[in-house]
Amino acid sequence: MAFVLLAIVVAGPWLAPYPAELTSPQSLAGPSAEHLLGTDSIGRDVLSRMIIGGRATLSITVIAVVLALLIGAILGLLAGYLGGAVDQAIMRVLDVLFAFPAFLLAVAVVAALGPTIPNLILTIAIVYTPSMARVVRGPVLSVKRWDHVEAARSVGLSEFRIATRHILPMVVSPILVETSLMLSRAIFTITALSFLGLGPPPPDPNWGGELSSGRQFMELAPMNVIAPAAAIVFATLTFIVLANGLRDRFDVAGQR
């Protein structure tokens, strides 16, 4: 499943049978040999828009989550390892962000910044940073009291080296699991934002936007809704399965 998503992101424009913006007077047509999933309201190929839209949606998701991962991991490591006032300061700020429901926060941030792709990435990163920081901080708190850390410290290694070489590797597995879960949630947030018209501006396709415009013609051309909806489900499912697989493999449930 992940390979299909990867293929869409890497080779989307070559896989799609038509350019995403190519219009034709044949609007709202049903599936045919020419257009496998039919056409949308201004005669664009639904399959092509699904593939190219997936590329946009998935790359925004991945970039945003990687960003959240970096910031979140650094903050979590700092808070957990240094403790004390630094921990308090970081975690209280993150708590404030955490207090808002993720989606509400996302809508507020996008509405304030304006719906462009960089802003969307930033928004998702902001929204998901606190949970990543928390996931990292927890294990760090326990790992830092382990013997090998004490040993490293007694040998006289620098704090930075201890944190990155002796603590971070110990918490990689929860980070991986959290990242992949976060991907599934982030893709949901992004498609929901686009559905509400806060996504990347037209004419560039994306799953949420396709779903929203297809909804108007649900009765006449159901493929307009089914295709992007199925794509969203497929992608979300892929990330959840991935997370479960990673969790089984690393058995992080016990550590958390």
């Binding site: 007077p25 709202l28 018209g197 004419p203 108007q216 009765e219 006449l220």
Partner: protein, 553 residues
């Protein structure tokens, strides 16, 4: 999960209200209808019964009154699927287009539109024009308002005093700017004196809301409207439904035929169409001609009235901002546009190439005559751009469209591609309606699209480009030749001459590209099931012929 439960409880709540309403209506028939009780004693009860039945979504119909004129049948409920809530019901203070549909059934004007969009008397029994600036109306003597008050010339005078009173901030004051004086001649005669001849005056008087006569001294019209219309206000629950009941003392003989008219509100087109298919609603209008055409094709029992083209899709160009101050750039934009492709793709052919005035108006554009810079010519567009100092193409910044209007968003995407072929790039920016209207009236835009809906008179459309109007000022209009021509056309009382003037005006707009008109199409495509009879769709934004509508029982 929580959403579905809340929807369930909302439905249960509606059912409660509905059964309450049924008792209310039956009680109302007993209390208010003693005069009718003898004639149609069972009618009130049967009507209420059938209203509950149809509203609940079943196809059971109540037993109606058989003693009706001709073959038409009296009684029953008409359920209309509506796409927008009214915003205020006072005809002279509301600015919302969506309110007109309701006001048209609650109020009357001195004049009204016929099915052929000709002006005919309504509250006026007759009128005469002794000279070009004087109009004398004789009122009917049998008109009553919903509160029992009889119509007199004082009410007409009161209505216009209300409009011109600055503290009411009526948007209609500027529409009637040519009116000098309204005088009561006798109890049933009223005289209007105008400052200058005004060809638009009668059209405004005939239009819903703008021409509505309100009873003297009745306050609170905004929420509890009292008019003289065929139906009176019953109840309104925002986002859910709006109920009107028949007005027994309505002046037109034997009208209205229905007992109740219920407007049910829907958020989007797909829920309206599925409600229509399941017959939860009897009648609706759709904005998207593509969808309408397909729905009609799939259900032969639907009567459909596509209507005359009365709406246009323009792109307003702000000439006070560079590079739009350069007419070459504007002409290049026009030349880069393939209007026919837009008609075919966005409207699926249910429309025509547009100019400033739609075909249904005096002097309206027929969609085929060639206007300057209308034939697509990408090479010429590029040449004009190069001459204007942009040999490598030009970036025109944001193109703002109404996010809520799907057709607009669709068309803007096609235009973006067409322009790109001529080296013109724009960034699409679909935004909410309210801030967009604010930008339009303040001039805070470069390119912006707001579809122009039906207007009672072409002057209202041309006014958008007058250098003296709010919108004209905002877009940096300075062309006084345009103003003069528009004024001349408004003052021309001969329709043939007036049409010729408007043709010239449209050539001027196309030549100078003050505004880029793409296509014209029906305001809305009305459709109803074939058990609904004698309804006539108007290109105006009202359903005044609901008053003569009846349904098979």
């Amino acid at each position: 999960m929580s959403e579905s439960t809340s929807r369930m409880s909302a439905a249960a709540w509606v059912m409660n209200r509905r059964s309450l309403f049924r008792y209310g209506a039956a009680a109302g028939a007993v209390v208010f209808g003693p005069a009718l009780l003898a004639a149609c004693g069972t009618d009130g009860a049967a009507g209420a019964e059938s209203s509950a039945a149809t509203a609940a979504g079943t196809s059971a119909a109540g037993a109606g009154d058989a003693t009706s004129t001709g073959q038409s049948q009296r009684g029953g409920t008409l359920t209309i699927g509506a796409d927008a809530d009214p915003i205020g019901l006072d005809p002279h203070t509301t600015t919302a287009f969506s309110s007109y549909d309701f006001i048209a059934l609650l109020f009357n004007g001195l004049l009204k539109w016929s099915p052929k969009m000709e002006i005919e008397p309504d509250l006026a029994a007759s009128y005469e024009t002794p000279d070009d600036t004087t109009y004398i109306f004789k009122l009917r003597d049998d008109v009553k308002f919903h509160n029992g008050q009889a119509l007199t010339a004082d009410d007409v005078k009161y209505t216009f005093d209300f409009i011109f009173d600055e503290k009411n901030a009526s948007s209609h004051a500027s529409i009637y700017a040519t009116v000098k004086k309204v005088t009561v001649v006798d109890e049933l005669t009223v005289k209007f004196e105008l400052k200058t001849p005004d060809a638009a005056f009668l059209a405004y008087l005939a239009s819903p809301a703008i021409g509505s006569i309100v009873p003297k001294g009745v306050a609170g019209q905004d929420t509890k409207p009292v008019g003289s219309g065929p139906f009176k206000f019953d109840s309104y629950t925002p986002n859910q439904k709006f109920t009107l009941t028949t007005f027994d003392s309505y002046f037109e003989k034997d009208l209205p035929l229905l007992d109740t008219v219920v407007f049910t509100f829907f958020k989007d087109q797909s829920s309206i169409t599925s409600a229509l298919r399941s017959k939860a609603i009897d009648m609706t209008w759709l904005k998207d001609p593509k969808v309408a055409a397909q729905i009609v094709k799939s259900a032969p029992e639907l009567v459909s009235a596509p209507g005359q083209t009365s709406r246009t899709f323009p792109i307003w160009i702000n000439q006070s901002k560079a590079p739009f101050d350069d007419v070459q750039v504007r002409r290049a934009l026009s030349l880069a546009t393939d209007r026919n492709v837009c008609v075919q793709t966005v409207l699926a052919g249910s429309g025509k190439v547009g100019a400033m005035i739609p075909e249904s108006q005096v002097g309206g554009y027929d969609g085929t005559t060639e206007l300057p810079y209308y034939q697509r010519d990408v090479a010429q567009a590029k040449k004009l751009l190069a001459d204007a100092g942009h040999p490598d193409g030009i970036d025109l910044g944001d193109y703002i469209v109404v996010a809520a209007n799907d057709l607009d968003v669709q068309c803007s995407q096609i235009l973006q591609q067409q322009w790109a072929e001529a080296g013109i790039t724009v960034a699409l920016k679909p935004i909410e309606t309210a801030p967009l209207l604010e930008m339009w009236s303040s001039g805070d835009y470069g390119l912006l699209s707001v579809a122009l809906s039906w207007s009672p008179d072409p002057d209202a459309i041309c006014d958008r480009l007058r250098s003296t109007s709010t919108y004209g000022k905002a877009m940096g209009q300075t062309d006084t030749a345009y103003d003069e021509l528009a004024d001349k056309a408004r003052a021309e009382l001969d329709n043939t001459k007036r049409a010729a003037l408007y043709q010239d005006l449209q050539k001027m707009v196309a030549d100078q590209v003050y505004c880029l008109q793409i296509y014209q199409y029906p305001l809305r495509w009305e459709m109803w099931w074939n058990y609904i009879h004698d309804y006539v769709a108007l290109p105006a934004n009202s359903r005044t012929y609901v008053r003569s509508t009846w349904r098979d029982q």
